[in-house]
Symmetry: C2
Subunit: 210 residues, 2 copies
Amino acid sequence: MARNKHPERTRARILDVAKRLFLTKGYDGTTMQDIVDSLGDLSKGAVYYHFKSKEAILDALGEEDQSRHDPTAINDTGLTGLDKLREAFRRSAADNEHMRLMNMAYPAMHDPKLLAANLKVWRTQVADMFETMIREGVADGSIDTAYPREAAELLALLTNYWLAPTFYPATADELHHRVEALAAVCTGLGVPILDEDLIETVSRGYAALI
Amino acid sequence: MARNKHPERTRARILDVAKRLFLTKGYDGTTMQDIVDSLGDLSKGAVYYHFKSKEAILDALGEEDQSRHDPTAINDTGLTGLDKLREAFRRSAADNEHMRLMNMAYPAMHDPKLLAANLKVWRTQVADMFETMIREGVADGSIDTAYPREAAELLALLTNYWLAPTFYPATADELHHRVEALAAVCTGLGVPILDEDLIETVSRGYAALI
């Protein structure tokens, strides 16, 4: 077997192949062996060297997916902080692949350890990311709030946990009503991200998780 | 050993003695043997028959404590639904014993299983209890909201999880600001529970958990 001179490239290939399989055969319908077979030129040991389990691959895809939807990465200088936040929500809720990956990742959170780990990420990294955007909006005048940190923590917690029908079961109509309530919460905090359009887009996005 | 004809009475006695020890020696400083010794007339086996661990006793004390602060149990017919909700918050935040018990229970939630179990109770029983009170307020005209269920779910989640410095570390000043943000959230949802007085009482209550 050839020596692997590009571990990062191998890792990315495994993720690509696994994502394609997860999205076509489903997460439960895909085995590590399927991933090895689809790659063709890597041993099972080599795949396990990069990811110790199928769950670890799903986790890594989740991280990759999250950074793809990081509003702080939206570099359109013509947009205000508030616009960037809205654009990030719009993109992730309208991104079918993203919602299908979330659909695979959520049931795994019935495992308390995985839920606790996710809650921690939402309290810290995700909240920090939202705070950066909100403070940008405060600086450019598009957001007027006394609660940048609190709003960031609540956005991170509520969009990832409370809106998820995995934890708070709901019909599509109930989810729509919940998103309207979240809009009222955001407005109450002075961070009115969810306008009429976005309420529709976000509701439809989460309804795909039912 | 005499037959136990009153298991409920024995259970209550164990809880009483354990609570007294937890509040004086601290949770970590109390052993099951201390509880057995303080009871005097029960074998260790008898205590374990009722509670399989010290943690199970703390859990039971938490449940007992929670039902003691159930606003649906406030039977003062002169109070509106909104007043009862406020009174329940006031009583539990001003109840030193309650806050000290919470102080003991929270660190245990670093255990993912215990956290997941608590999150489930907050999503269901605690949210149901708040919903009952909010709907009573809607019926008597003291609350005007389009979101009784959503506000109930958020009150349950945010007061138990987001306000807790165990999960979201904060100084006393930061906690005060967080409670003000929660007041804005409640107002945004049409359920303005946290008035100026209550913001002070609740902030002080949670600061005891730092």
